[in-house]
């Protein structure tokens, strides 16, 4: 049989999706189902003086209109699920509907349920809310100033937390030969999966069981929290994530609307569907990034880096969302030194409340921001001492011999070979030739730029003990069950809950390889708390590293048991049985064998099992890894900036990523491409704009630039493979590498192109207008 691990296998999930047979949340239709919509605050900050729902209730077809007064006393608040310790954190529990005050434009004030979605929408217009508008604050630095509007009365100075796990004396920087200081702004972006959020809730008033189908990246976490919010025991609450149309972090969060759908379903004894519209998504689903990052990087004239100090002022929005507080602290702060051996580092993060949509994880969560600041700072440092940006990287990258390597923030990088991916990228780019071409073009007056990103990121979340120590209100192990049916067909259940990553195929490859059976004989199930024991979901590139680790262990357990049965039937010792190509064979005795299918049948019939053995062939693993995994690599971006218009054209993009051992190279490439599109999107086009009084001006696809096909060149990608020692597959995680690495590579390339203008930094997104204006202002230098 051909090898499955490492093979380019077509995806098993596709036949349904390409024939229109997918089953997304909005596709679910239940008998008697009714439709819900949320009335959202038009103001960023206002007192609610009164809400009059009488006219809406009289509207034909309207079944119920709930306000905060109705639901809040009967439900629990949605909690903050990452309570970072040691930072005086002040989470604000989030009630299902705003009652006295709204804190951002788009916050829900009423929930309408009607016979169809058109009527529900009509009814919204018939609800009369009287507001008293209050001054709003949208920017974190403004919010920290004396006299700024206060978002929550009991949170003084709008400071949600102040995290400072390590300090460095000023002296370190005063005495350094060279110090680079720079302030970066990571603009606010919207994750924007193509499927918006949504939920369908059904309640059985006889038995008290509830099922909620929803767009979730982590149904078990949603079950845990909604069980509390709704007061339904976990054993009676089933959360199903059917097909999910992308998540990118936005569907990790625990929100209020899904719970309200559950509340309404219970109350009305009818299934309730709530589906978010795109313009609603812009207001109501978590945003991301929005951090002011101030960096001081110290080192010597010869390019050796010695110390790094970073202050991050993060805009958390109006509430601390599910993982929100962990992103600019743990996720960001512990990775600030990147792929470089910088002996001393310190970080401080201020989390700030503002009158904006809450921010939370988005593809990479904290690591893209960490990578951005160090990759940009290192370029600035090189410029300052007149060193090549490639040389400074070569000089400071953690050496291969140093692994496992402990960075200055105390994280232990599992394995790495940073030089290897760097060399490979240089070779693919034909770097020397590129620099020559840059000179040639410069002579013609054209602005070409080359940008690097040599990065490492933290993935494969992660040891549960660590999760507890950093205040994450959950474990981070993963669960897989391998069930062999009497026919020899295999069902796999995973607690990781994918949404487009191709996990069905990847996992089938792992099991097929172990058992020596074709992947067509294996079905992978995910996303249903009713059939899967437990799981912590898909985010932080943890599915293959942690979920796949659990799977490999469970599959090995099945093989062990099957070998014992085969040995028993063949009257041999289990140690003498080998499994090859789906056949258990007594070593060196051809013909004395049992097929995988035969053993599956024997195990289930249980007519003749070894003494004391339980029937059936099934195993489960609850795998808790000993460490995170650290994918790494080198990206090289080539751009040309149009002198007349400021337009940045991407001419080449080279990405060499090391994601540990690769199971399906095609799927890995697909993940890298998608990640690149999002990271490059942030560098060049995407960005959220609020008006002064907190109106979201970039609230639709008409005013928020989503990357399109003709924005990109063909990506040139490759992998090096440095296995991770912390899981049985040697996998490292790939979902986030493209996003993490690409944003600084692009900005570094543009800055390289603009070098002649003396432009050191520009705020993202690098739109033509911004680049053009910057060039106009610096004309004299050229």
């Amino acid at each position: 049989m051909a090898k499955l691990h490492g093979a380019r296998i077509k995806r098993q999930e596709d036949p349904r999706l390409i024939t229109g047979n997918g089953n997304f949340t909005d596709d679910i239709k239940l008998p008697g189902m009714v439709h819900a919509r949320v009335l959202r605050s038009p103001y960023a900050h206002a007192k609610i003086l009164s809400i009059d729902v009488s006219e809406a209730l009289e509207h034909p077809g309207v079944l119920a209109v709930y306000t905060g007064k109705d639901v809040n006393p009967e439900m629990q608040p949605v909690p903050t699920s990452w309570v970072v310790p040691g930072c005086n954190i002040k989470p604000k529990p989030r009630m299902p509907l705003a009652e006295e005050k709204v804190h951002y434009a788009g916050e829900g004030v009423a929930f309408v349920v009607a016979e169809d979605r058109y009527i529900a929408k009509d009814a919204l217009e018939k609800i009369k809310v009287e507001y008293e508008e209050l001054p709003a604050v949208t920017h974190q630095e403004e919010a920290l100033k004396e006299g700024a509007p206060i978002v929550h009365e009991d949170v003084e100075g709008n400071l949600a937390f102040d995290w400072q796990p390590a300090e460095l004396d000023d002296e370190v920087f005063e005495q350094a030969e060279v110090v680079v200081k720079q302030r970066f702004y990571e603009q606010r972006v919207v994750p924007n999966p193509m499927e918006t959020r949504g939920a369908v809730a059904q309640y059985n008033s006889g038995g008290g069981e509830m099922t909620i189908w929803c767009t979730s990246q982590n149904p078990h976490i949603h079950r845990m929290v909604y069980s509390e919010v709704l007061g339904i025991p976990e054993s009676k609450l089933r959360i199903v994530a059917p097909d999910v149309g992308g998540g990118f972090g936005a569907k990790i969060g625990v929100y209020t609307e899904e719970a309200l759908a559950g509340y309404a379903a219970k109350n009305l004894k009818r299934p309730v569907k709530w589906i978010e519209e795109r313009s609603e998504h812009f207001l109501a689903t978590n945003h991301a990034r929005d951090e002011v990052i101030e960096v001081e990087l110290a080192g010597n004239k010869d390019g050796t880096l010695t110390a790094l100090r970073v202050v991050n002022t993060a805009n958390m929005g109006a509430y601390l969302s599910t993982m929100g507080a962990g992103v600019p602290t743990i996720d960001f702060g512990l990775m600030i030194t990147g792929a470089y051996d910088i002996p001393k580092a310190a970080v401080r993060t201020f989390g700030v409340y503002t009158n904006t949509t809450p921010t939370d994880a988005y593809r990479g969560a904290g690591k893209p921001e960490a990578t951005f600041q160090i990759e940009r700072a290192i370029d600035l440092f090189a410029h300052k001492i007149g060193m090549d940006v490639l040389e400074i990287r070569k000089k400071n990258l953690v050496k291969k011999e140093a692994f496992p390597y402990t960075n200055a923030m105390g994280l232990n990088y599992d394995s790495g070979n940073y030089q290897l991916s760097l060399e490979k990228a240089l070779e693919m780019a034909n770097y020397e030739e590129l620099r020559e071409e840059q000179k040639r073009l410069a002579a013609e007056g054209r602005l070409m730029g080359i940008g690097f990103s040599t990065y490492v990121e933290l993935c494969g979340l992660g040891p549960s003990k660590v999760a507890g120590a950093i205040g994450f209100q959950g474990g981070l192990w993963e669960n897989s069950t391998v069930r062999v049916h009497p026919s020899g067909k295999v069902a796999v259940y995973t607690g990781a809950s994918p949404h487009g990553q191709g996990v069905k195929t990847t996992f089938a490859q792992v099991v097929g390889e172990k058992f020596g059976i074709p992947i067509e004989d294996i079905e992978v199930y995910s996303g249903d708390t009713g059939s899967i024991a437990m799981g912590w979901g898909t985010y932080g590139s943890r599915t293959t590293a942690v979920g796949g680790g659990a799977l490999a262990i469970a599959a090995d357990r099945v093989v062990d048991k099957a070998k014992k049965i085969a040995a028993h039937e063949l009257e041999a010792s289990p140690d003498d049985i080998e499994l090859k190509d789906g056949v258990f064979q007594v070593k060196g005795v051809p013909g004395r064998q049992r097929t995988f299918q035969q053993i599956a049948k024997s195990a289930n019939m249980a007519w003749n099992l070894p003494e004391g053995m339980e029937p059936a062939l099934e195993a489960q693993s609850f795998f808790d890894p000993e460490n995170f995994v650290y994918p790494f690599g080198t990206h090289i971006c080539v751009v040309e900036v149009d002198k007349d218009t400021g337009k940045v054209e991407l001419t080449r993009y080279i990405a060499v990523d090391d994601v540990g051992r690769v199971i399906n190279p095609t799927i890995v490439e697909g993940q890298v491409h998608g990640g690149l599109a999002q990271g490059i999107g942030q560098a060049l086009w995407e960005g959220t704009v609020y008006s002064e009084n907190g109106q979201l001006l970039s609230g639709t696809f008409m005013d928020y630039t989503m990357p399109q096909a003709d924005f990109f060149p063909e990506f040139e990608t490759a992998c090096t493979e440095t296995p991770s020692p912390v899981n049985p597959l040697g996998a490292k995680g790939v979902g986030e590498t493209g996003t993490t690495a690409s944003t600084p590579a692009v900005v570094n390339a543009v800055m390289d192109a603009l070098k002649a203008y003396g432009i050191k930094d520009l705020e993202m997104p690098l739109t033509p207008e911004k680049v053009w204006s910057a060039m106009q202002n610096r004309r004299e230098l050229v």
């Binding site: 077509k10 995806r11 999930e13 596709d14 036949p15 349904r16 999706l17 390409i18 024939t19 229109g20 047979n21 997918g22 089953n23 997304f24 909005d26 596709d27 239709k29 979605r117 058109y118 924007n192 999966p193 193509m194 499927e195 918006t196 097909d243 999910v244 149309g245 992308g246 990118f248 519209e277 795109r278 313009s279 949404h499 487009g500 990553q501 191709g502 095609t666 799927i667 490439e669 697909g670 993940q671 890298v672 491409h673 998608g674 990640g675 690149l676 599109a677 999002q678 639709t700 696809f701 008409m702 989503m706 399109q708 096909a709 003709d710 990109f712 063909e714 990506f715 493209g738």
Partner: protein
């Protein structure tokens, strides 16, 4: 209002509100949920279907506007027994990840191939304007369309051979 249209080859008659969008009619009334909704401003292309052979965004078309038309959705494009070349291309070349944008994107790309049998990479990327995919980075979509173009050319060639030799079917 009474409307009737032929959807994927089958005659459908319904009573709908004049304001009902075609996409809701297809999804909610006819249970053809392959066509998706990704936005409310007609930017994303997830809802693309054919009305009388022309690709339209069904989120900005009223159901009543399609009265008397022939409508094709992704369900009518092909099924597992006979996949359309574009579906085959998406599968072979990993042109989808979450698959949410995919039905609309495939409809748009199949329409592009009707007009341009051998589109270049930049023509495909250009033709993708008006469609957003958040997962793929588009590169494998380009490959999928090129794959489909080759396949369609082969199918045509086969048909030509069959016709010229006068045989009754593909051997």
């Amino acid at each position: 209002m009474e409307i009737s249209m032929k959807v994927n080859g089958t005659e459908k008659k319904s009573h709908v509100e004049p304001r009902m969008l075609l996409v809701h009619y297809l999804r909610d009334e006819l249970d053809l949920t392959g066509t998706h909704i990704g936005c409310d401003t007609s930017q994303c292309g997830a809802c693309t279907v054919y009305v009388d052979g022309k690709s339209v965004k069904s989120c900005t078309t009223l159901a009543v506007q399609a009265d008397g038309s022939e409508v094709t959705t992704v369900e009518g494009l092909g099924d597992m027994e006979k996949l359309h070349a574009i579906q085959r291309g998406f599968w072979e070349e990993h042109g989808l990840q979450c698959g949410y944008c995919t039905p609309g994107v495939m409809m748009a790309m199949a329409a592009l191939l009707r007009e341009n049998h051998d589109p270049s990479e930049s023509e495909i990327r250009e033709g993708m304007k008006g469609a957003i995919c958040r997962c793929t980075g588009y590169q494998f979509i380009v490959k999928a369309v090129q794959h489909a173009a080759r396949r369609l050319a082969e199918e045509k060639e086969e048909q030509r051979l069959v016709q010229s030799t006068g045989e009754g079917g593909v051997k």
